[in-house]
């Protein structure tokens, strides 16, 4: 056998193994990524869907965060504007987790319709910007980014 062909055979072997690893682990770790309204639709479609672990991307409803004093459990409401779910997370919430931020939770719905999260990720609109989701809030500007009514425009 020519060296070139031997090499190709070895290459196919390596790539084949890699593809097998990819295919098998995708089955193991693939998770649906849904918004609350999509999750509701899936569950309405097929009640057994709740057995699947899913990831949900949503926003924290301001004022609903209840933390236990030790910081190891937190409950809140998440929404996408159309559908709202209560969430219970057992774990330490990241520093960026606060009112109104976008979050990604991983877990499943329990019998009471509460989303039991095993992971909770929170993100800033930009990891560099203050006050995510509220553009244009600068100190000394009550009323947010709108041009203050009593200040004449430059």
């Amino acid at each position: 056998m020519k060296a070139r062909n031997k090499f190709l055979l070895g290459g196919v072997l390596v790539l084949g193994t890699a593809s097998y690893l990819m295919a098998s682990s995708i089955d193991e770790t693939a998770t649906y990524y849904l918004t609350p309204v999509e999750l509701a639709a899936k569950v309405a479609d097929n009640p057994r869907f709740v057995k699947n672990g899913v990831k949900v991307g949503a926003r924290v409803v301001s004022g609903t965060i209840k933390r236990d004093p030790g910081g190891r459990e937190v409950s809140f409401m998440m929404t996408d504007g159309k559908q709202t779910y209560p969430v219970h997370y057992r774990g330490v919430a990241p520093d960026t987790f606060t009112d109104g931020v976008d979050i990604v939770v991983e877990g499943r719905l329990d019998g009471n319709g509460v989303f039991q999260a095993t992971t909770l990720l929170a993100k800033c609109a930009s990891r560099y910007e203050n006050a995510p989701g509220q553009p244009g809030q600068y100190p000394g500007a009550p009323g947010g980014g709108e041009h203050p009514a009593n200040v004449p425009k430059a």
């Binding site: 060296a3 070139r4 031997k6 090499f7 070895g10 290459g11 390596v14 790539l15 193994t17 890699a18 690893l21 990819m22 098998s24 682990s25 995708i26 193991e28 770790t29 693939a30 998770t31 649906y32 990524y33 849904l34 990831k55 991307g57 933390r67 236990d68 004093p69 030790g70 910081g71 190891r72 330490v92 990241p94 520093d95 960026t96 987790f97 606060t98 990604v104 990720l121 929170a122 993100k123 800033c124 609109a125 930009s126 990891r127 560099y128 910007e129 203050n130 006050a131 809030q137 600068y138 100190p139 000394g140 500007a141 041009h147 203050p148 200040v151 425009k153 430059a154």
Partner: protein, 679 residues
């Protein structure tokens, strides 16, 4: 100055347009005056981008809050050093910074080649002009750093406290220096393709640029890991997040290129492959920027979403189509000049190294893009998590580690049985000794054992190579050990610098495997209460709470908990962790509260303490992690960067200038023969 800067941005835009137009025209028509004009315009582009950057820095340092950028990312009480780094804290500034580095690199590359590579240079300059034009256009028409607010706020919004960290100050510029470094080899690849000058000549011009890119990407990635580890409080340094992956992808292809380039130099093989890797590296940096800036992929790090994603997508598609066409019409010119002679040869080892690197790259890309692909095919967004990346890239990574040890041991072209026996005996023995020792010490984790077996083998290879080189010099020149070692490295920077990089890789793999043994506990403790824990080495640790203190500092309120730590009864000192609430001058809270972790660092392991919350004034809830060998990740990174520096360092300047890059090869060959490696 600010006004000058704003104006300079537009002039730079025109200059870049001029650069690309006249350079291409000059190249096609063979008009030297146009070519010269294009090169001068490239320098001018850099000069005006520099002015635009100085303008923005001036605005930052003078607190001109009428600029949206300044008001968004800084405040009047921000420490001066962070005023400087605020330049790349936001999207607009990042783009300008990117353009600054890009045009600086371009100006250097054009200047360095003002007398060489004349036929392809017009196209190289032209391509660089187009890339500069692209960045300047996205700024001018979409993300202008000089955008003004219609009123002037009294103070800015300030910088996120998590970014007020030296690691994060240096991480973005390092990554940019690495990313942008791929643009120069890309431009040379285009130039070489257009002019059909596809022998080793153009590779010589780009090898150092690829190294520069690799060097900064390595530093940038490791700094990012370090920042995530010390600042974010999740006790890890890599999560296979889309943003992390997009910095890793070009690193893989550049690394592959730095290896495969040697085969083309020595044997004239892999010509198509090298062009492809160079092009791919650049396209992957653009793709990475698209992924991270457009919001198409969910990431914890997601940046501000904006239309900028469309710009990058358009550029990506155009560049891909163009280069695919160029390569496909020039396949004949890319025919290999030699064939693989034997499976047991260094060429074959390098080929497998490339295959594995690109395989890891592909798997990582696949996992990163999987949500988009699955949505396109099945209509559902499906994500894959870290287990996917670990279970695919883990085995591939180990294979790569094995090749790191095998490659240097076998001869070019065809290795004889004697060659193999002589070369492999010591390194293989080293691996086995490590393996047996660890089993005797009670280690049972298969992944870790294989890692350390291979690490021992590669380490043996590196040591053997150095010992051989040093003893050959001692015999030939009668030098003593230290000067022989220094001259050996100094005269063959590529080879021995490369081994030093390999050593850094080995250290990192050892550190990664250490994480298989991490342990953690949580506890809720009143003042004076203690908690016991046993680490992976069997040491018994006791943490005794010293109570919670609250203090008021200049710009933050701090709640801190401290622990008296003992290991096997020996005092290890105090370890504390804080919750910080940053406040503005009026005492109002700004940003979310942040956690400051406490790390007790040692060569064996980090004890990583997180203060998760105060139950009441007396009682603190904590999370303690024992992370083995984390320090070695940073150390490995430093070694890799140091090795990269040695490889990059200019060598034999005079010889290079006279007869071009190729002069280096015969010299190395001579030395190789001297140390008894079959060439």
């Amino acid at each position: 100055m600010i006004l000058v800067g704003e104006l300079s941005l537009w002039i730079a835009l025109l200059m870049a347009a001029w650069t690309s137009t006249v350079s291409f025209a000059g190249g096609l028509q063979g008009r030297l005056d146009l070519v010269k004009s294009g090169e001068r315009a490239m320098y001018a582009t850099f000069a005006f981008v520099l002015l635009a950057s100085i303008g923005l820095w001036t605005a930052l340092f003078t607190h001109d809050f009428s600029l949206k950028f300044v008001a968004s990312f800084t405040s009047a009480n921000l420490p001066t050093v962070y005023l400087f780094t605020a330049f790349w804290a936001g999207q607009e500034g990042s783009l300008l910074f990117w353009a600054l580095i890009m045009t600086m690199y371009a100006a250097i590359a054009v200047y360095a080649n003002r007398k060489t590579n004349r036929a392809m240079m017009p196209y190289v300059t032209g391509t660089l002009g187009v890339i500069a034009l692209f960045f300047l256009m996205t700024m001018a028409f979409s993300e202008n750093p000089y955008e003004r607010l219609d009123w002037v706020p009294p103070d800015g919004r300030g910088m996120n406290p998590q970014l007020q960290n030296p690691g994060m100050a240096a991480h973005p510029p390092m990554l940019y220096l690495g990313y942008v470094g791929t643009a120069i080899p890309f431009a040379f690849a285009i130039g070489a393709l257009v002019t059909r000058q596809l022998d080793a000549q153009w590779l010589g011009a780009v090898r150092r640029w690829a190294l520069v890119s690799w060097f900064f990407l390595t530093i940038g990635i490791v700094l990012g890991m370090w920042w995530a580890y010390v600042e974010l409080g999740w006790a890890g340094y890599w999560a296979w997040d889309a943003v992390e992956n997009s910095s890793f992808l070009p690193w893989l292809t550049v690394t592959a290129f730095l290896h495969s380039i040697m085969i083309q130099e020595k044997r004239g093989m892999l010509r198509k492959w090298n062009v492809t890797l160079v092009v791919l590296s650049f396209l992957l940096t653009i793709l990475g920027t698209f992924i991270t800036r457009s919001g198409v992929i969910e990431s914890v790090h997601a940046f501000a979403r904006s239309s900028i994603g469309n710009w990058f997508l358009g550029f990506l598609i155009a560049a891909t189509v163009l280069t695919a066409w160029l390569v496909s019409t020039r396949l004949n010119d890319l025919q290999a000049k030699a064939e693989l002679e034997s499976m047991v040869s260094r060429e074959a080892a390098f080929l497998y190294n490339n295959l594995v690197l690109v395989g890891i790259c592909f798997a990582t890309l696949w996992g990163t893009l999987f949500p988009i692909l699955s949505e396109a095919v099945k209509g559902d967004k499906i994500t894959v998590g870290p287990p996917f990346f670990n279970s695919v890239n883990g085995p591939l990574g180990l294979l790569l580690l094995a090749l790191t040890g095998i490659g240097p041991l076998i001869a070019w072209r065809r290795a004889s049985v004697t060659n193999l026996r002589r070369q492999f005996a010591m390194p293989a023995a080293a691996g086995v000794v490590v393996f047996v020792t660890l089993i005797a010490l009670g280690m049972r984790d298969a992944y870790a054992l294989i890692s350390y077996l291979l690490a021992g083998f590669v380490f043996g290879t590196i040591i053997q190579e150095f010992v051989k080189g040093v003893s050959a010099r001692r015999v030939m020149y009668g030098e003593s050990v230290v000067p022989a070692f220094l001259r050996l490295v100094g005269r063959n920077r590529r080879r021995y610098g490369g081994y030093i990089v390999h050593f850094g890789v080995v250290v990192m793999f050892c550190a990664f495997a250490g994480l298989m043994f991490k342990k953690d506990i949580t506890a809720t403790l009143k003042t004076g209460e203690s908690v016991k824990a046993t680490d992976a080495y069997g040491h018994e640790w006791v943490f005794t709470s010293q109570g919670i203190s609250s203090t008021q500092e200049l710009n933050r309120r701090v709640l801190a908990v401290a622990f008296n730590v003992t290991r096997d009864g020996q005092p290890m000192g105090l370890l504390s962790s804080e919750k910080r609430q940053h406040v503005n001058a009026l005492g109002e809270p700004t940003f979310e509260p942040s956690t400051e972790v406490g790390i007790l660092e040692s060569l064996k392991q980090d004890v990583y303490l997180v203060f998760t919350g105060a139950v009441d004034r007396e009682t603190a809830a904590i999370h303690i992690n024992f992370n083995p060998l984390v320090w070695w990740v940073w150390f490995g990174g430093i070694i890799m960067a140091f090795g990269g520096l040695i490889v990059m360092w200019p060598q034999a300047q005079r010889a290079e200038r006279q007869s071009g890059y190729v002069a280096q090869i015969p010299m190395e060959k001579r030395e190789l023969e001297a140390i008894g490696v079959g060439v």
